[in-house]
Amino acid sequence: MWRDAALVAGRDLRVELHSRVTTNQVAPFSVLVLILFAFALDPDRQLLERLASGLYWTAVLFAALLAISRSAAIDETDGVRDALRLSGIDPAGVFVGKAAAVAIILLGLEVLLGVGVVVLYGVDLAGAALVVVAALAATVAVAATGTLYGALVSGLRVRETLLPLLLLPVLAPVLIGATRAFEAALAGVPADGWPWCGLLAGLALLYAVAGALAYGTLLEGS
């Protein structure tokens, strides 16, 4: 399974490298969202600082929707799904590989958005360990859930509008957990944030296991 996962992850990342959709479209879009939040809430700088965690993770989720939609589209073109079924690749490996590629792309976007939050919202970075662990756990949860739901809506004509409708409610606990953990870290009380990290890690594990188990059925059914 791990060999298949590495193969699929490498393919998805190579596709992104060649197409430059993430760097030329998704990244500018997510920075634009941050800027629009700043326009909407400025000149109340204190309010921006207080809401920075929530705004940051909302921007991450918007960017994630685009990255997930793009990831699902890779396997929908010109008979690729049939070729995957014929290849004998472990469906769990396909799931893990696709989720890993989405997670790597998201981590890159999160770093970019983190810089944006510091520059635009004037946030002082604190509690780095909590921030990193919370971001990793939330990213895995978002990538795993997104990959699973991307396969679920695959092949439907309305998939682009249906995906956010299905995915965002499921990701609400991740948004809440990550925002609370970041708030605790930035407020200098990391002890309040670690329980939220535990919740995020639990969600990441749950979604990853569910995805690995269900992906084969979704691949056959689409």
Binding site: D4, L7, R11, R14, V15, H18, S19, I74, T77, D78, G79, V80, D82, A83, L84, R85, L86, S87, G88, I89
Partner: protein
Amino acid sequence: MEQVVHLRAAVALLGRFPALAGFDLDVARGEIVLLRGPNGAGKTTVLRACAGLVPVVRGEAVVLGHDLRLDPRPVRRHVGLLGHATGLFDDLTAADNVRFWGRACGADAGDIAAAMALVGLDGRLRNVAAGRLSAGQRRRTSLACLLARRPELWLLDEPHAGLDHETRDQLDALIGRAVEQGATVLLASHELDRAESLAHRVVELAGGMTVAPAAPAPGMSRAGMHASPTAPREAPDPSPPEVTHVA
């Protein structure tokens, strides 16, 4: 002789609709069998059913010793399907596509390089994004993906479509070489002159789902129904193939 494909009264569904109803087909190892029939006769469905991509819900369906009705997945790794869709990623180069699908099927670097060389995928063409290739070049890339996995059963749906004359000849030679090495070929084509000269037998699909008994193709009419995989082929006979239709 070992049966590679055995379908008896096979019923296959596309969604809720029966695409095959009571289909019979036996193909022995080393044979090249042509499926012939009008559009909508079910040729593509037969190929996809043999690949385990379309579920057979009734009848007998055994491919390469695996019962498709019990679990079609074990057979998939051993078949190669060249269909209307190419299975290529437009943003990856032709070489990256062949490498990915080759490695996915367990091929080593030597097999992958040999497959690319066999279809003339070399030089500048290897590094062109698949989305920028012509239809014929995409077909060749797709064929290289199939060759890299060294399938036991080749399932070819309109394999000559979109190819120039020279590449068609190369494809026919590749099919002949694969059969000499023990592969079995089931193909569907509307280019009857070329396909019939290639095939050992012709199976006629008529009335949508019903199949006529297999008859020798013109090129094999004197060689018998089951030619040896290594036997030299006879020159094509210009007379039309003997095919019996079943109403």
